[in-house]
């Protein structure tokens, strides 16, 4: 999984039938340099060079939301519960939003340790 920010969406008319009706979002992964400098290593800088990830969304996330995205089989498990009757969980999907993030607690914000 990774933490990312929704930057937009993608739509298409020509697609695999099993992917019909699935909303697709564009998500930019957070890099260490995007986090506050109080986090070890974050101040080292470096640009965010990761590719945008296209992921299925059944949690109604939107642009500006921070989300967790899962890959692989876990992505298909996440969308399986929201499929319409007759739809199979074998859509050509390998990434999906699994949570809309409320809060991220970083080291240094509440002191080190547990």
């Amino acid at each position: 999984m990774f933490l990312g920010r929704v930057t937009g969406s993608v739509w298409s008319t020509v697609k695999w039938p099993a992917a019909k009706g699935l909303k697709l979002l564009l998500v930019r992964p957070y890099r260490l340099a995007d986090l506050p400098p109080t986090v070890a290593g974050a101040a080292a800088g470096g640009e965010s060079l990761d590719d945008l990830v296209v992921c299925a969304d059944v949690l109604d996330a939107g642009p500006g939301d921070d989300v967790l995205v899962a890959f692989g089989h876990a992505a298909r498990v996440a969308i399986a519960g929201a499929l319409a009757p007759g739809q199979t969980p074998d859509a050509p999907i390998d990434a999906a939003v699994v949570a809309v993030v409320d809060r991220v607690e970083l080291e240094g914000e509440r002191g080190p340790g547990r």
């Binding site: 990774f2 340099a33 986090v39 967790l68 890959f71 876990a74 992505a75 498990v77 607690e105």
Partner: protein, 90 residues
């Protein structure tokens, strides 16, 4: 698997049913020299790891095996899990 350092935790109420009750940690991956590479991943933690801990994170079906032994664990929503808290590496 990757090796990394736990830098925080993540909370969400709007989430897929399969994530309910899971503790989610942010892990800064390490590069070949042991420094932070810049990549950050989120993993399910069952080992009670805390901020600053040096851990290994398993992905894919290996991650599911951390939560429950296979092969009948494909219904689990898990693609990354803390597999070990590292004490030493050379």
């Amino acid at each position: 698997m990757i090796r990394g350092t736990i830098i925080g935790s993540v909370w969400a109420t709007r989430q897929a049913a399969g994530l309910a009750g899971r503790k989610l940690v942010l892990v800064a991956a390490r590069d070949a020299e042991g420094r932070a590479s810049g990549r950050v991943v989120v993993a399910i933690d069952t080992l009670d790891a805390g901020a600053g801990d040096d851990v290994t994170v398993a992905f894919g079906s290996g991650a599911r095996n951390v939560l429950a032994p296979g092969p009948d664990n494909r219904a689990l929503l898990c693609d990354a899990a803390v597999a070990a808290i590292v004490e030493g590496a050379g």
